[in-house]
């Protein structure tokens, strides 16, 4: 019994670390979808007096995986990773569940608005962008296309001050 109690105690004391990742939700036409996921975001999110800020969060385009190797390659090529290898979110400022930032993709920078929720030491932010706003051409492969609207989820740890 003592042993079981110890195991339960040990298991319950393991902290639940959330995974840092950026997920792009891409809708296909005529139907279907895929997610492009990167777990290699770089940058710091700071929480101070209830306000979240980040100078720069960047992610390598070629760190995104879609579940199909060929689609990965097409995705990177479409995002022109050879000339613009990173996507960057800068000047993030958010409070009360909403915020603003600058998003740079394919060498084009646009202001974006985000909504977020705070979960323990993690911030989970969501935004929706138009691929065409970043000078990305219409994507299609053998009759299957990609929707212009892309939803993005960013899950990152933050440091409180």
């Amino acid at each position: 019994m003592k042993f079981i109690m110890m195991v339960i105690l040990l298991l319950s004391s393991i902290p639940s670390f959330a995974e840092e990742k950026i997920t792009l939700f891409v809708t296909l036409s005529p139907a279907g979808s895929f997610q492009a996921v990167s777990k290699k975001a770089k940058g710091n999110v700071i929480k101070e007096n209830g306000v979240f800020t980040a100078d720069k969060i960047s992610v390598s385009i070629e760190s995104f995986k879609t579940g199909i190797d060929l689609r990965d390659e097409h995705f990177w090529k479409h995002m022109q990773s050879s000339t613009n290898p990173k996507a960057t979110l800068s000047n993030l400022k958010a409070s009360g569940g909403k915020g603003t930032a600058q998003l740079e993709v394919n060498g084009k920078k646009n202001p974006v608005t985000i909504v977020y929720v705070e979960k323990g030491s993690e911030i989970l932010a969501k935004l929706i962008v138009k691929a065409s706003d970043f000078s990305l051409p219409k994507a299609e492969y053998l009759g299957v296309g990609v929707d212009n609207l892309v939803a993005i989820e960013v899950a990152l740890q933050f440091k409180a001050r």
């Binding site: 939700f25 296909l28 036409s29 005529p30 139907a31 279907g32 979808s33 895929f34 997610q35 579940g67 199909i68 190797d69 060929l70 689609r71 390659e73 492969y141 053998l142 009759g143 299957v144």
Partner: protein
């Protein structure tokens, strides 16, 4: 009776489709198949997906990158040089062993189940107009009386289709009925009970609409015109599927059909859940009311299906299959069939599959032994 039903369904072919590929994010069959409800020939995108996402790279030369694998996915091992013609050849055969290990009752045989040649003509942007002919060999059920006119060589499907818009298309000809989940197990109760299995194609007109989050199919049919007129099942069906939480599907189907002897009303609800990375769950629950014109039978059967597909890595799928069937819902007797399976796409054109089935009858007034069976299946396509 149970064994006759089993044998009848075993000795046949069907228009295979892989509804479990929702686990790869493909909610609709239209992305990969010419038929928007799946089965039959793959389109160019479907061939590339089969090569680069579904199949293993075990036989792929190391010097090939994924673009090369995609290029080689065409019929002649290269990208077709023209846009208007596609051809495919499809073979399935399996070794079936019933009552394995029994010194008295073990029965094993190899069955050539399907050999199809397929020709597709297609014109316009995104294959706006298509014409599909699928002709081939399918063995007659072993119980077929000698002297029966039926040929083992026949058209599996032939139809024309026109997509007025990318969202809406009309199809006319000999096609599968639109109903429920088209699972690849041709003996599934959920396919046998509503008569939507391997030899149940019908001549008719099918409308297909795909919206942002939902998909609708409606079909009117006059039976299979190669059958005698009094046997042709005439009627209609509707199936609606909705995408939920972005990646899953829920759906419902209803179908009514009748000939001079029989009237069927089937309805079912189903779901296809995307577990991601190629894994998925399929489930269907439905009923079929069967009435004979002479009044000798008026029963409602209930069927259920639960399948899981787990994909540990590219090319390999572990299956678990649980099926339920109650021939008459007024009675307590029912049948369960369950078993594991493994499906391995050795390369784009080679699928190997092994399934074990245990069929157990639960009856209040009798008891029967479990019926065990395993199948080793080979599927080749070009």
């Amino acid at each position: 009776m149970k064994y006759i039903l089993l044998l009848l369904t075993l000795f046949s072919v069907n228009a295979y489709s892989y509804s479990n590929f929702i686990g790869h994010g493909y909610t609709s069959c239209l992305n990969c198949h010419f038929n928007p409800f799946g089965g039959g020939p793959l389109n160019d995108y479907g061939r590339v997906v089969s090569a680069t996402a579904i199949s293993s790279t075990a036989l792929t030369p190391k010097s090939w990158d994924e673009e090369k694998v995609a290029y080689m996915s065409g019929f002649l091992f290269r990208k077709p040089k023209q846009e208007w013609l596609r051809t495919q050849v499809n073979y399935r055969g399996f070794r079936v062993v019933r009552n394995p290990g029994s010194s008295e009752n073990e029965e094993a045989k190899w069955i050539n189940m399907q050999l199809d040649g397929r020709v597709i003509l297609k014109f316009g942007e995104n294959d706006k107009f298509i014409s599909v002919l699928n002709y081939g060999y399918a063995p007659l059920p072993s119980e077929t009386p000698k002297g029966t006119k039926s040929s083992e060589w026949r058209s599996r499907e032939h139809y024309v289709g026109y997509r007025f818009t990318p969202k809406f298309g009309l199809y006319a000809g000999l096609m599968d009925k639109v109903f429920g989940i088209k699972v690849i197990e041709h003996i599934a109760f959920s396919r046998v009970s509503p008569q939507v299995t391997q030899n149940d194609q019908v001549h008719g007109v099918t409308a297909h609409y795909i919206g942002q989050d939902w998909e609708l199919g409606a079909q009117g049919f006059v039976g299979n015109l190669s059958q005698d007129a009094d046997l042709r099942m005439k009627g209609g069906s509707v199936m609606l599927e909705k995408t939920v939480f972005g990646i899953h599907r829920i759906g419902a189907s209803v179908m009514s059909s009748q000939n001079e002897y029989l009237k069927l009303l089937s309805y079912s609800a189903h779901t296809r859940l995307n577990l991601k990375e190629g894994s998925s769950i399929l489930a269907e629950l439905g009923q079929t009311n069967k009435k004979t014109e002479n009044g000798s039978d008026d029963t409602t059967a209930r069927f259920g299906l639960l399948q899981t597909y787990l994909r540990p890595w590219r090319g390999l799928y572990f299956l678990a299959n649980i099926e339920y069937f109650n021939r008459d819902i007024k009675q307590d007797d029912y049948t369960l069939r369950w078993g594991p399976g493994v499906q391995y796409f050795l390369s784009q054109r080679i699928e190997l599959r092994a399934d074990v089935y245990d069929t157990r009858s639960f009856a209040t007034k009798s008891s029967t032994r479990d019926s065990w069976m395993y199948l080793l299946q080979t599927h080749l396509w070009f």
